[in-house]
Amino acid sequence: MLGRTAASLYWMSRYIERAENIARLTEVGYRISLTPDIGIGHREDWKSTLIAAGSYEAYLERHTDITSEKVKHFLLFDRDNPSSVRSCLETARNNARAVRTALTREMWEALNSTYIDFASVRPADLGSGKLPEFLDWVRQRSALFRGSMLGTLLRDEGFHFSQLGAFIERADNTARILDVKYYVLLPTNETVGGDIDAFQWETILRSVSAHRSYRHVYKDRYRPWNVAEFLILRPEMPRSFCFCYGWIERSLEGLSDIIGHKTPSFIEASSILRDLKSSHMDAIFQSGLHEFLTEFLKRNNIVSAHIANDFHFL
């Protein structure tokens, strides 16, 4: 497989995953803006959303104030924002076009028809309660793409690169969401936590579609300690660090087998997974949750850079 093809598959999957995550973040932001203000201020929450989306600075370059309308437009439709859902779908499709031969027809059709349908959506038509339906649609389309891939793609290099893109992006996304609100998860909050905190904990879980699965796993009310553990260490939670790195390691192992030696990306990913598996939340809290998350984001980026280098992305 061409290095350029591998790069395109990797980035295609990253951008599809990002489109889905941005849609989910926007939905949570929208939900908060509809609930009665319980003292935290919506503007602060849109700011958190922008930070979690990695788009806060880009937003400030274009806007002087934060309003629901402006943020929604920026996150969903703005062509100047490289991480808007529109830009993500366009970048994903351009990458897919460049490697049509490495995709199955189902994957291409899922992605291409999403792109075509998105182009016909007029932002003005999304007022008066149509936004949630639209955001659901974005997530469904991402799920369709993923399903097409899992159902039709050969389990060869191409599959591994697609998986890597999706899980590197997902790990990055979960870490950002946690880092934006890490302070509400600190153990000191557990005893003093009031309604506002409970609301914040739920918001974090909703941002990764985990507010219901949390109850299945913990059979308990939301507790910050558990929320953090759920999203970082639980291997059965499909957006947790541990889960993402399980797949990243597996794909890099597969690629190392094809290449015939262990690549630096595989060695780094294995070491991250080993560290996660041997971690406990009390140790993480003790050495600082924020510091832990910053370090994880950094290591995740290092793995991504190694992948590009190891497989001749160019």
């Binding site: 497989m1 061409l2 591998a6 076009r97 460049a98 049509r100 291409n112 075509i116 094809i258």
Partner: protein, 486 residues
């Protein structure tokens, strides 16, 4: 059944009686090859056809079968309109075309070998030396080189027009990097999906083997340095090229890599592509990049689409470039007028397929004739392609005629002229029922260990009423082309 719509369909058939109608004779009776198509058309309602048309457009758009129109800023990806009514070619008509095409393609490859070696045809005085050596399409760098199998143009798209019962003419030979074969294949896919019952009622010669035949053709011209199964690749200029869909389609159908110049490098006398494991050697490169962009060291130094050193490697036998560089000299519009002589010179046979009569403005008395009959002629730039920079006399305004007169006088050798051809018509789905529209035909020919011609080809149709220009860049569409088996 909607009888009103049917009345409309049969009524509108007589729209353009001056042209050869491929479905109906002048007395209005349906020709034998179209019998079942005519019956089927009579059964279709206008709304039913409109629904099928929508379905077809959705299929093509979803598959991403789009093309880019240069100079069109509004939308740079467009669908080529697909016409639902198939064009039918009778078995005996096809056998005639096939023989004619094969003869022509064989002769043109012999011509290319001669032109790049001893130039016997010039020595014999059959064509002027200046026409060849003074031609931009002539590549002196190819002199004295023997490409594998002595084949230059492996993939050919011969453009044919019809003006009467037995009147077929070759309009262009397209020996460089002809495109359109993906439309031939996808049009057939779409038709089989939309109207399976029509196929059940006919014996239509299959076209689906084209990718496999292309693969065989490419493998048969592997370079001498290749000792095992040859590795093939398709070279594309990239996703912004107007024919990108076709490049990726063909690579996919053949199961080979689609590469760009940046993926390739030359090392120790071989061409390699950069892969995730390091590198892999390429033996045969089916390039869809023009000659001048192939190698910045040999041709245009500003090209980033090619590979530095590729041409030297080709001449050293380290890789085969398909089609060979320099084939343009044989499909140049100025050389075109000499193709009948070329056929006779190399095969000793009379040409089976005729040329369109062509006036060369480089010859003074022919030029005078062109200038005094401009409003009846089609004038083409010698090096132009795709319907750009051409004058259709009968449809031109006074200003356009004056402009071309000036251009021709300024540089006569840059132009040829041909009579306006009465292109045949086929029934086409035009919204308000069906109506005759002008068509041409591009059969696809593969030249390797043997000559393989896919039955039928791509029919392009001028969907605008009265228009004779079938190019997709000028609003033309395509339709599925059926060669009936006996």
């Amino acid at each position: 059944m909607n009888t009103q719509a049917n009345a409309k369909i049969s009524g509108s058939i007589k729209e353009a009686p001056a042209f050869f109608d491929e479905m109906r004779s002048t007395d209005g009776s349906v020709r034998p090859a179209y019998q079942k198509i005519a019956e089927w058309m009579a059964r279709q309602s206008r709304t039913g056809m409109a629904r099928k048309q929508e379905e077809a457009d959705a299929i093509f758009r979803r598959l991403g079968i789009t093309f880019a129109v240069y100079g069109d800023n509004a939308s740079n990806e467009r669908l080529i309109p697909f016409d639902l009514i198939p064009r039918v070619i009778a078995a005996q008509e096809w056998r005639f075309l096939e023989r004619g095409i094969e003869q022509r393609v064989r002769a043109l490859n012999l011509f290319l070998y001669d032109i790049y070696h001893r130039q016997e045809i010039i020595r014999a005085g059959r064509i002027p030396a200046d026409l060849v050596v003074g031609n931009e399409a002539f590549l002196p760098q190819m002199m004295g080189f023997d490409p594998p199998g002595k084949i230059y143009s492996h993939i050919v798209g011969t453009d044919i027009v019809r003006t009467g019962e037995n009147a077929f003419f070759v309009l262009e030979d397209n020996l460089r990097t002809p495109s359109g074969v993906s439309y031939m294949l996808e049009d057939r896919e779409a038709m089989m999906h939309l109207f399976p019952e029509l196929f059940a009622a006919h014996r239509v010669a299959p076209v689906e083997r084209y990718p496999e035949m292309l693969r065989q053709t490419l493998e048969s011209v592997a370079p001498p340095s290749c000792k095992s199964d040859p590795t093939l690749a398709v070279l594309t200029p990239g996703i912004y090229n107007s024919a990108y869909f076709e490049h990726s389609f063909l690579a996919d159908q053949m199961g080979v890599e689609l590469v760009q110049g940046s993926d390739l490098f030359i090392e120790n006398g071989a061409l390699y592509m950069r892969t995730v494991t390091g590198k892999e050697r390429i033996d045969v490169l089916y390039r869809r990049v023009d000659d001048s962009f192939l190698d910045p060291l040999a041709f245009r130094s500003d090209s980033s689409l090619g590979v530095p050193g590729l041409f030297d490697l080709y001449r050293a036998g380290g890789v085969t470039i398909v089609n060979a560089p320099g084939t343009g000299i044989a499909d140049d519009k100025a050389v075109y007028a000499y193709v009948p002589d070329i056929i006779e010179f190399y095969t000793g046979e009379k040409p089976i397929l005729s040329n369109v009569p062509t006036y060369r403005c480089s010859i003074p008395h022919e030029c005078d004739h062109v200038l005094s009959n401009l409003s009846q002629l089609v004038v083409k730039e010698v090096h132009g392609s795709g319907g750009y920079g051409m004058l259709i006399g009968p449809h031109a305004t006074k200003a356009q005629l004056a402009e071309f007169e000036k251009k021709i006088k300024a540089k006569p050798s840059n132009y040829i002229a041909q009579p306006t051809l009465n292109l045949s018509t086929c029934p086409s789905n035009v919204g308000a029922g069906s109506a005759p529209r002008h068509v041409d035909l591009r059969p696809f020919v593969l030249v390797g260990d043997k000559i393989r011609i896919t039955p039928g080809g791509l029919t392009r149709v001028a969907l605008k009423k009265g228009s004779l220009v079938v190019n997709s860049s000028q609003g033309g569409g395509t339709k599925d082309t059926w060669v009936l088996e006996d």
